[in-house]
Amino acid sequence: MSRVLGMVWLTFREVWAKKITLGLFVVCTILWMLMAFALNLDIVEGSLTGVRLFGQDTGAPTETRQDEAGNSVTEALSLETFVVTIQAAVAGVGYWVATLLGLFAVAALLPSVLDRGHADVLFSKPMTRLSILSGHVLGVAAVGLLLASYLFGLIFLVMSLKTGYWNFRFLLSIPIVVSMLLVMYGVMVLLAVRTGSSALCLIVTYGLIVASLVFLGHEQLRAQINPPWRSVFVGLYHILPNFAEVTEPVAKLAGIDAVTRWYPYISSLIFGACMYVLAAISLVRRDF
């Protein structure tokens, strides 16, 4: 176990030495400071009387719902509903920010481990190749967890302290963000093992994220595509990671509505698992 921890330490040491942690820390801090300044709430005795966004008075937020008689009524939004709605939106944005930043931060790590000259020493140690890879991925997971906890944790603190309403469901975003970061990192691991190029890792991974934006409209698109290509499109939709679609469960988990569709998340997890299995097979077979 101590040996695997050695790999975790190496990952942290590299992230630290390359000032990546510093960069992430600064970006996250700026983000939550913007949040703190932008959102100014007037709270009088526990109820919301006004919201100022970037200094603009938006008045007290309202919600429209149906009363028992079926007439729509507009009334002042409760503080809880307001906080939770905002937090759901923030979780969705945070999911993108944390994953994109995180992936960028870790893209060069594995190519550096597999670099000829360094890999020779590492893989000559009395550890299996799989335990070295596991230690590395564990290190990346830990980096991702720290990043997500810092970003989400601070935003959570700021909003909760300001409103006095503690919506702990917001923190459920953290494990989802970390797991999606690892899913996308699986692509990087496979490419790094096969090619050793960190540029390629970034291009393909970000490419898949952009492609997943197209899949947001997969239901409408499917109808417009001609039959032979339609099945290709549907196949790709199921095979490739549905990164963009996962924004919805992340937001809903933090908000009021229950999550209705876990499929994009689960199919992404399966995709990620396949990437790691393929990467492990390539790594074990490879000559250094």
Binding site: S2, R3, L5, G6, D120, F123, S124, K125, P126, D287
Partner: protein
């Protein structure tokens, strides 16, 4: 009771073909290689560039998969990670993470090799002092010179107190004093009963420390034996004597060293003679009334021998 000593490592019929993508023919780096190194030896492997020396070491360390044959290291198959438990390795062209300090690097590799925290605290400063790098312990590796990298690299190979150490070109980039230091370290390790395996181009180095050497060429073992055994197989002799008749000089392809000519004494060199042929030559000279005052064996250096073996092999 006597039984064959357990090998430090042993390879038999070892073959490696590197694939080079589709359609291209693979590179045959090793061809049915047999080699046995006993515990406690300092074994030197020589060979021209591309002979397959590094490939052999990498197969033993599990870095490269053999295409055929078997290889065992300290009694374990090389595909088993446990085989590397008591082994140290300094690769050629190594690049340790530049962001680590020398001390951190040794700590890390010690931890990965399964050295306990307590032992690491003790061994890291000890080893850095052994390779004269104690002062540089807290400096980042990216600021080291080439020879300094090589020194900490050797310390790295010794961190787990291994029984077998593989050094691929250990003196590459090291100054003469450093080379002497490294030779002393190797002899010291050997004194502790460790097996040392060196790949090198620096033949003089191998000659000075190795108990046994092998010469490899085109993935095959060309010669194997002790340094003195290999270099004395056929020797050059220097004869100090009176003038030798021209017919004998040309028959025996003797070379006269004009610089050492005096009134009645000449010096001739006879190249690559076995002992019995030398004696035949002496008989002939005596029959021709040539006065002989000295016969010296001109011991070949390993380098001459190397060039002779490798040169001969590469001419078709």
């Amino acid at each position: 009771m006597s039984h064959a000593p357990q090998a430090a490592f042993q390879v038999s019929q070892l073959t490696k073909v590197y694939n080079r993508g589709f359609r291209k023919e693979g590179v045959r780096a090793l061809e049915s290689l047999d080699l046995h190194v006993a515990p406690g030896e300092i074994f030197g492997l020589l060979g021209p560039n591309g002979a397959g020396k590094t490939t052999l070491v990498k197969i033993l360390l599990g870095l490269v998969k053999p295409s055929g044959g078997t290889a065992t290291l300290l009694g374990h198959s090389v595909s088993d990670a446990r085989a590397r438990e008591r082994v140290g390795y300094l690769p050629e062209n190594h690049r340790f993470p530049g962001f680590l300090t020398g001390g951190e690097m040794l700590q890390l590799y010690g931890q990965l090799a399964g050295v306990s925290h307590r032992d690491r605290q003790r061994r890291v400063p000890e080893l850095l002092d052994l390779v004269s790098m104690g002062r540089w312990r807290d400096t980042r590796i990216k600021q080291y010179s080439k020879g300094m990298m090589q020194r900490v690299g050797i310390a790295q190979a010794m961190i787990s107190d291994p029984d077998v150490i593989f050094l691929d070109e250990p003196t590459d980039g090291v100054d003469p004093v450093g080379r002497k230091d490294i030779r002393d370290i190797l002899l010291h390790l050997n004194g502790l009963g460790k097996t040392v395996f060196i790949n090198s181009h620096l033949l003089s180095e191998i000659e000075q420390v190795c108990t046994r050497v092998a010469i490899m060429n085109h993935g095959r073992l060309a010669k194997e034996g002790t340094v003195s055994g290999l270099t004395s197989e056929a020797s050059n002799y220097r004869l100090r004597c009176g003038r030798i008749p021209a017919s004998i000089v040309s028959d025996w392809r003797l070379v006269e060293d004009a610089a050492e000519e005096t009134d009645d004494q000449r010096t001739y060199t006879a190249a690559e003679l076995e002992l019995d042929r030398l004696n035949t030559l002496i008989d002939i000279l005596r029959a021709n009334n040539v006065m002989i005052s000295a016969v010296e064996r001109d011991r070949q250096s390993l380098e001459d021998y190397f060039i002779q073996v490798v040169g001969r092999e590469s001419t078709p």
